[in-house]
Subunit: 135 residues, 3 copies
């Protein structure tokens, strides 16, 4: 159980570093092929479409010269029959050229993590944005 | 020692999720019956009164439509005769309807954690608010 | 590997608490004697000079009555021949008297951590400031 917890922490750190570096294909590879990503009332299905959506978003931020940083915190992990239910807080920071930091969004991220071989992947992610989406 | 460290991380994640979800009775249950919660120069004694104070605060934020998120970070844990001394930074975020994030408060949280059966509880918590309270 | 990860988390928590408390000599002692600290295109070499630079900065903030808090997050650790390469996000918060929180800087911190006896130290640190420095 402790091991799962530490594994999950490391997983999220790697996953967020990939996303923020614009390595969107590698990032999408941390979802299962049939993975689902829900934010508010929008759902993207399959790691191919998840990669495509991330690529477009990352491209828009890069074109605008804005760095993004995703922070995951207050992670809890609960083992279940299919895998781990991981619930965390996620902050999205945006830093335009000049270095001023904008805390853009506070969210709650609820994932179903499943093990494929020796690595964890996200089979289902639901993100609710504080102040915008019902939890 | 590592195990204590990971346990404490998970403990705080659960504890903060309970508080921010408005589960104030469960949250107060993470303190010992005779637990003390000090913020600045105010002290609340006993998990019953701690629950009551949390309920009132949570109710006020809910009525105003403001989500709160407590983030714990930079946790250090030192074992002692009574239990673990856990020192951490704690950030309090507030997100009103509309989703704008306000970083309301930066604090330092110093806890004495004691083990009751198979779980940790807070026997004493002292919170100092940066810029307002002497450390 | 897990153990290294948890050790590194605890190391950073202790290190940042020392810096923010103004314990700059103890903080500099978490670097090797020949440690290097690079921020942007400035490099400070040797733990003596690292301590001196930190002391001056800490003194200026203390004189101005401003509390600083360094948060490390999204830590990844990769073992190598010399030690651990640790990559993390670091946020710098500043809290002047009155308690308002300013998120001053978002950075990426890449460290080479080496083991000396039973403790880890930083042999090389490179900090890039988001929006200001190329990564």
């Amino acid at each position: 159980m402790d091991e799962d917890y530490v594994d999950a922490q490391h997983f999220y750190a790697r996953q967020m570093q990939l996303l923020d570096a614009g390595s969107t294909d590698e990032w999408a590879g941390t979802f299962t092929d049939d993975g689902v990503f829900e934010v508010g009332d929008v759902a993207v299905r399959g790691s191919g479409d998840i990669a495509k959506a991330a690529r477009e978003t990352a491209g828009a931020f890069a074109a605008a010269g804005v760095t993004r940083r995703h922070w995951i915190g207050m992670l809890t992990v609960t083992p279940g029959p299919e895998g781990l239910t991981a619930r965390s807080y996620a902050l999205v920071l945006e830093i335009p050229r000049g270095g001023e930091v904008v805390v853009r969004r506070s969210t709650v991220c609820t994932d179903l993590l499943v093990r494929t071989g020796d690595r964890w992947r996200v089979k289902h992610r639901r993100v609710t944005r504080d102040g915008l989406d019902p939890e």
